[in-house]
Amino acid sequence: MKLILNVNELTKKFGHLTAVDRLSFSIEKGNVYGMLGPNGSGKSTTLGMILNVVNPTAGKFSWFGGTQSTHQALKRVGAIIERPNFYPFMTGAQNLQLVCRIKEVPKSKIEEKLELVDLLDRKHDKFKTYSLGMKQRLAIASALLNDPEILILDEPTNGLDPQGIAQVRDIIFKIAAQGTTILLASHLLDEVEKVCSHVLVLQKGKQIYFGPVTALTTDHGYFELDATDLARLLKALEENKLIKAVEQQGALVLAYPNETLEIETLSKALTSKGIVLTHLAKKHKSLEEQFLTLTKKNKA
C-alpha cells in the first residue's frame, strides 16, 4: 500500500485549550477515510495543520513519504475546508484559472471539472452571484483540478439544502467509485457510513479509534427475538452457553452472543426446546450507535 499521509503525535494548543492532542494515524492510497467527532473535537484544526494553514504546537506529519516540502505536496492534494473561499469579484472560471496557476496544472481541466459538478452554464458569472450549493460545487471542481491523489473534504454538506446535500453526495460517490483516496471529516454519521472504509474517531482532540469501519466494534452483532411463550424463551436463552447477555426492549428480546453465532444454530437450539419463535433477526449496530458507545466509554 502506498502511504499518502503520515501523522505522528500531532498536537495543537490554543492557550490553555488543547484542541488536538497527540494524534497519530496514517492514510494509504485507495481507501476512503472518515473523520468523526462532534463539533469542536479538533477535526478542522487537524486538517488545518496537515494543510499548512495552522502551525502545529508539537508533532510531525509528512505527505507522500516526506520527500517534498508541504506546499509542493499540497499541489497533489485537493481540499475543501469549511466554507468555499473564492474571490467574489471573479467569475467561476477565473477563480479556477487562478487555482490552476497556483497548482501549476494546465487550464484545459477547467471545463471537464465544471461539467462534473454541473456548473458549466454558470462559469462566466461572478462567484458572488452563486448560491451556497453552487459555491460548494465550485469548490469541489477546484479541488479536483489537479486530479488529486487524495481529496480532503471538511463538512462538505454543511449548510446545504436537501437537494444540495444530495448533489454533493452524488459527486463524492462518483469520485470514490473512481478509486480516489478520500478523507472526509463530518459529524454526520450516515454520510461517513455510506462511503468510508476506515474511520478516525476524535473526542476533545483525542484519538479514540482509528481503523476499519468493520472492526470498530468487537462484538458479534445481536439477535432480536419474540416468541409465543416469552418466559420460556427468556429461560432458554439464559441457559444457552453461547449467549452472554439477554435484555428486554419493548416487546422484543435482545440476545448478545459470546462469539459469532449463526442464525440457524440459534433457531435450531430454541426449536429443539419446543419454543415457537414469532420473530428472529440478526442485527449489527449502526455506526451511530457504535460511535455513541465509543464516546460514552471514553467519557467514563
Binding site: V53, V54, L74, Y87
Partner: protein, 277 residues
C-alpha cells in the same frame, strides 16, 4: 517569478475598484504635464508657469519626482485592500491549501509592489523627459542626465511606502482601519518630533532622531524642490532671507529607507508565518 506575478496580476485585474484606482493613479501621474498649461495673461502681467524654469533639466527630475510622490496614496488604498481582502474573503487560506507557500504568497505581493513602483518611476521619467525636451532651456545630454538620482529616490520611496501599506494591511486585516492607522502613524511621528524638540537633552539633536522615523525618512528622500527655483531664491534675497537648504538626495536617507523597506518585508513574513488561519 513570472507565475507569482501572474497570480497577483489576475487577482488585481478582476477587481474593478483596484483597476479604477490604478488607472486614476497613472492618469494623475501623467497630469503633471498639465502644469505646463498654467498661464495667466492679464493685461501687462504675462505669466506662464512652464517658462519659470520648473521644467529645466536637471531640475525637472526633482520637481516631478516630488509632485508625483504625492499621488502614491491612491496606490496605498489598492495595496492595503489587496491583502486585507485576502483575509476577509479567506482566500489566503485557500491559496495556501492549494499549494502556495507563505513565502510565495508574500512574494507574489512584493513582485506586484515592485512592478507598480517601477512603472511609476518609468512614467515620471518619460513625462519629465518630454516636458524637459519641450520647455527646458538647456538640452545638452550631460545636463539631462544630471540629478537622475531623484528617480532612484522616487523608486525607493514608493517601495518602502508600499511595503508599509502591505504590512499594515496584513497586520490589521481591514482596509479602512489600516489606512486610518497610517494617518495616525503620521501624526504619531509628528508628535514624537515635537516631544523630542521640546524635551530632548542638549546632546541629542531632535532632527537626528527624527530622521530615522519611517515616514519622515521617506519624505526626506525627496525634499521640497521650491527653494531651488531661481524665482523663489530671488524673492528670498529681496527680503533678506538666506536660503541654504540642502535639497540633494542623501545617501544616508536612502540607506535608512532601504532598511525600513526590508523591515516591513520581514515583519510581514513573520506575521504570515506565525498566524494561524
Amino acid at each position: 517569478m513570472k507565475r507569482l506575478f501572474l497570480i497577483e496580476y489576475e487577482k488585481l485585474r478582476a477587481n474593478r475598484s483596484s483597476r479604477i484606482l490604478i488607472g486614476a493613479y497613472f492618469i494623475l501621474l501623467t497630469s503633471i504635464a498639465l502644469i505646463a498649461a498654467i498661464k495667466f495673461d492679464i493685461g501687462p502681467i504675462k505669466f506662464h508657469l512652464a517658462e519659470q524654469g520648473i521644467f529645466n533639466f536637471p531640475y525637472v527630475w526633482h520637481f516631478n519626482a516630488y509632485i508625483g510622490a504625492w499621488f502614491k496614496i491612491f496606490l496605498a488604498v489598492v495595496i492595503v485592500s489587496m491583502t486585507a481582502n485576502e483575509y476577509s474573503n479567506k482566500t489566503i487560506k485557500q491559496n495556501l491549501i492549494d499549494g502556495l507557500s507563505k513565502r510565495e504568497f508574500l512574494h507574489s505581493k512584493w513582485v506586484m509592489l515592485f512592478a507598480l513602483a517601477a512603472i511609476s518611476t518609468l512614467f515620471i521619467f518619460v513625462v519629465s523627459l518630454i516636458l524637459g525636451l519641450i520647455y527646458s532651456n538647456y538640452n545638452e545630454f550631460s545636463i539631462i542626465v544630471q540629478d537622475l538620482e531623484y528617480l532612484a529616490a522616487f523608486f525607493i520611496k514608493l517601495m518602502a511606502f508600499f511595503g508599509l501599506c502591505l504590512f499594515l494591511g496584513t497586520a490589521i486585516k481591514r482596509s479602512a482601519f489600516a489606512l486610518g492607522f497610517l494617518g495616525i502613524w503620521q501624526m504619531f511621528e509628528g508628535f514624537c518630533y515635537g516631544m523630542l524638540k521640546w524635551k530632548s537633552p542638549e546632546w541629542l539633536n531632535a532632527e537626528d532622531v527624527y530622521r530615522f522615523f519611517p515616514l519622515n525618512a521617506m519624505s526626506n528622500l525627496i525634499r521640497e524642490p521650491f527653494s531651488r527655483l531661481s524665482a523663489v531664491r530671488n524673492l528670498a534675497d529681496q527680503v533678506g532671507e538666506q536660503m541654504t537648504k540642502n535639497t540633494d538626495v542623501q545617501l544616508l536617507d536612502i540607506l535608512i529607507v532601504s532598511v525600513w523597506c526590508y523591515i516591513f518585508y520581514a515583519l510581514t513574513y513573520r506575521l504570515l508565518k506565525r498566524r494561524d488561519l
